[in-house]
Structures are given as C-alpha cells and as structure tokens.
Symmetry: C2
Subunit: 348 residues, 2 copies
Amino acid sequence: NCQPQTECEAPKKDDKKKPSKTAQADEKRKLEGLTNNSPMRLRMEAFNKRLQAEIAARIEQLDGQGKFKVDRWNRVEGGDGISMVLQDGKVFEKAGVGVSVVYGMLPPAAVAQMRARHPAIGASGEALPFFATGISCVMHPHNPNAPTVHFNYRYFELGAEDGGEPISWWFGGGCDLTPTILYEEDAVHFHRVIKEACDKHDPRYYRDFKKWCDEYFYIPHRGERRGIGGIFFDDLEDKKQDELFAFVQSCGNVFLDQYVPIIERRMDMPYTEEDKLWQQIRRGRYVEFNLVYDRGTKFGLLTPGARIESILMTMPLTARWEYMHEPDLKAHARLMDVLRAPKDWIPL
Amino acid sequence: NCQPQTECEAPKKDDKKKPSKTAQADEKRKLEGLTNNSPMRLRMEAFNKRLQAEIAARIEQLDGQGKFKVDRWNRVEGGDGISMVLQDGKVFEKAGVGVSVVYGMLPPAAVAQMRARHPAIGASGEALPFFATGISCVMHPHNPNAPTVHFNYRYFELGAEDGGEPISWWFGGGCDLTPTILYEEDAVHFHRVIKEACDKHDPRYYRDFKKWCDEYFYIPHRGERRGIGGIFFDDLEDKKQDELFAFVQSCGNVFLDQYVPIIERRMDMPYTEEDKLWQQIRRGRYVEFNLVYDRGTKFGLLTPGARIESILMTMPLTARWEYMHEPDLKAHARLMDVLRAPKDWIPL
C-alpha cells in the first residue's frame, strides 16, 4: 500500500544511467589537477578542450565577423561535450569544432567487432566499459578558391575498471583538405606541415597514413576521392601511450599552421558565378561521402540518444545536385584528375 | 600453338556479360507484339514506359519552360532504361522520371536474403536469374508552397528460365508527398485519390499501405518522417498476377490526378525568403533520408556498374544544413507536428 503508485514499480532501466565509477573518480581527479601521471583519458580530454578553444579563437579572429555559438552538454552515464559552430560569417559559411567525452558500456556485438582489430580483447561475450574522447573540426569557407578542411583526433579505451589498466586502448584520427579549385601550392603546404609533424615521431607514419587517407576518403559510387587527402590512421597502439599521445598532440597542434596560411591567401580572391556553382556541386559530394561512408557519422546516426546536431555539424551550409553535371572549366576539371588518381604532393 | 595469345586463355569472366536467353526471347516477343498473355515482365515494362512518357509530357506542359533531357541506356546482360530529367524549369527546380529494365543473375547471398520474405525460393545456395522493372519519379518545385512528390512502382521476378514460370515474383511501390509548408487540403487530396485507386482492388490496401508508408519514411536520427505519407508496399504476391498488375496500374495511372491539382494551386503563390530558407532545410532532410535509409538508393550505390546519375536524380537541386535550426514561423512548425506524429488524413 504505497503512494504515489510509481514508487511501487520495479526499478527502472534508467538505473543504468548513473555515472560509472571511473567517470566519478575521473571527476575527482580533474578537481585535484592533472599531471603527466594522470590517466590518458584525462590528458587527452584536456588536450582536446585546449586545442578547441585555441582554434575557435584564431578562426573567429580570422573571420572578423562571425562568432562561435557554444553548446555544452552532459551525459548522465558520464562524460560531456562542447560543440562550437560559427555560421554565416564573413570568411566561413560554416565552421564547427567539437569535443566529446564519453563513458559508457559497449554492447557485446560491438565488443566482438573490435576484437578483430584488437586481439587483447578476450571473447567473454559480455559488455565492457569503454571511454572515448575526440576533437573534430570542419570548416567550409564562402570563397570557392578557399578549400574546406577537416580533422579529427581521438583516444579510445576498452575494459578499464577504475584504477585498473584498460584491456585495450588506441588512438585514431587524421586531417584532410577538400578544395573546389585546385591550387597545387596549397596541397603541398598542407601535406608538408603534417609530414613534418609525423616525421618527428616515426619516419613511416606520413607515408603510411597518407596512403590510408587516400583510401579512406574514396567515394566508390563516384570513382573519386572527397579531396586531396592528408593523413588518416586508426587503431594506433604500436608504441607507448605517451609516445602516441605526443604524436597526436603534434598533429593537432599544427592544424592552424596547416590551414591558416591557405585560407589567408584565398579568402579574398575574386571568383565567378561558375566557381560558386562548382563549389556547390562539390559540397554535394561532401554530403554524399559523409552520409553514406564516413564511419564516425554512420556510428553517430545509429547511436540512440546521440546529439544529432553535433554529428551533422560537419555538413556544409549549402549543397547542390545537378543531373549529369560535368565541369565546364579547365580549372575545375583539373581538380577531378587528382580526385580520380591521388597524387604524392611531396616526396614520400 | 595459337595466335593471338589471348585466344588461348581460359574463357573470360566477361562471358557472363551476354544477354540471358530470357532477355533474348523477350526481345523477340516485343517485336512480335504484346498481348494479355505475354509474360508479366513485358507487360509491366510497357506500362512503365507508357506512363513515363505520359507524365513527362504533362509535367513539361505544366512547367511551360523546362524540357526533359532524355537519356537511354542499355545493359549488355539484357535490359535497358530511360532517364528523363527536367532541371531549372519555371515551376520545377528538378523533376525526374526514370524507367529501368534489368535482366541479371542474383548472387547467392542476395537470394538467401530474399528467401526470408519469399519462402518459395529454395535453399539451393546458387545464383538465380532475376528480372526487375520499375518506374520512379521525384519532382521538386521551386515554390515552397508546392510540395515535392515521389512515386515508384516495380515488378520483380526470380528464377525464371525462358519459357518457364518464375520461382517467385512480386510487386512493390508507393507514392508520398513532402511539403515544405503544410496545406491540409493538399494532404487530404493526395491521400483521397490514392485511396480510391486502392479501394477498387482491396478494401484493406489503403489502410495497410498508408501505415507502412508512415513507417518506411521515418528518419530515426531526427525522430520525424520525410513527409506526410501516401502508400508503400513491397513483396506483394497475395493475389493473382493479373489482379496485382491491375492494382499497380491503377496507382500509377492516378499519379497526375494526385499531384497536378496541388501543384497548380501552389506554383504561383507568393512566398517569403523565410519560406525559401525553410524549404532548403527540409530539402536537407530529404537528402538525409535518401542517402542514409532509402532501400532503393542504398541498393543502387552498392551495385557495381550502376548508373549513378540515374540513382541520384531523386536528389533536390539544392539543400541546406543549419546548425540547431528551429522553424521560426508557426506555419513552418505546424508541418513538424505531423512529421513527428503522422495523421490519418482521411478515415481509414
């Protein structure tokens, strides 16, 4: 005999929606202050959030007009995120930088999938605690002479109970440039800066990850790549955690050096209506890649309760699909050649 | 000892790329002229092509300016297609009507998938000859008061060697309306005309297929439907072939009655910049549904050698993605209510 009735009912499934012990302990660690001995989770999260703030500040300054709208969100199960989007600026049609931090349980099916690539994950058939933090960024400028840019760096951890070592952990990420009009010097610059960052950590990284990038951003139904590449890597666990973290930091830290000089020399160039139309067609291909093939987007769309506006903030503001469109101008067709057969912009 | 060397080699895989015996015999039948006793393949193909021509003529007349570009294509393995696209017309931003006819071999994995829904298909583990013909149509008008419309009707046949009966056959299809601004009278009219067509054949069809349509065009990551529905059906084999063909013909034949009165009363209505912006946002959702969920589009994108421009002619000419967009106007928000909770426009 109890009032109100709901209190008599069986415990709700929502009981699952409490912060994990790891998430709670990490909150405490953050209040105490991080050191180089703090768990990688917290160090990568802090790096992501610092880099996000730095990039947003520089891009806002560069735009001179648009302001980033900042949305912060929290997950009951542990973790949070910050989405920053600048829309309809002077230089940028849309620029987004997002950071997410997720503590959760990975269902058995997803664990089994990951086991193929990470043999340390045993075949227990049970759900495992996981952690993921990532920074991702997409910038679409107005001027068709200025390329769209994207990067993403992330850290993943599986099976760590608080205080214990994870069963498996890895880093992933990459950066890539998507021009509407090809300027070889821009492609060379973008690749050179990231190659220098890679070379400090491993002489094979740039060569391997440049190739991986060309493969990843392929649009099979078009027979072309999304852009002129950069680097892409995933499941990176072949060195000590600190060494790989240093590598990922190097990559993230050179982003502004990779992109700002390019945008500065393109953002005020004159362009024609034909250039703008061509840009809109290429934006359509960008949408096709993101919605049909991009792993991160697909994973996000299929995740119940995911914050859809944060996932789709990578979409261009506008896009266009013309039936049987072929580039008229040589300057436009030149881009297609390198999207169909990727080029080595600098010696490998 | 033979010259040239290639003639000594094993038969090429390309040997598969000959017209099937069925396709060859059907070509002969077409030359001899069709009757009510001709195979359903040929009768449905003829219906599709006649309907396509009728619709294109009426829509061109209605547009008064744009002309359909007509592309015909042939498949070596048998079959052909006609893609008709009107772009940048006076009334229509983009209007496409396509017919395809495909003779081919269905790989064992795809056969196994179909067996779940069509038990007559045995578990031979072998590839089976298949045939498919369909008509599909999407029209995107300029005026945001005028809705986008889509329909598709198709016939599928599995395992028919020439002269023999297929192991399994079925019809599928449907029609649906996607307004930017909701006019209830348009929704009621669109549904009433297709209900009348359904009622002539089976009193349950409209009710069942209306519900199926609301389910099919759901965009889970948005929690909304693409539009205000219509009908959707698949794997229809519950009556004699002639009866179902008559049903599908009724549906196809009323399309112009469903849509033309709506477009005529909306195409010259005044609209604001806000209406146009809202239309572009809704076009973005249309793209999301088509690229992420639509069975036909996904099947097409994954089919090697498919004619990509025919598959993606359903895409709007232009689309827009704004971060955190919410409709400002009540007239726009009213649409969202019915996309989130579908309505019975007429008594079921």
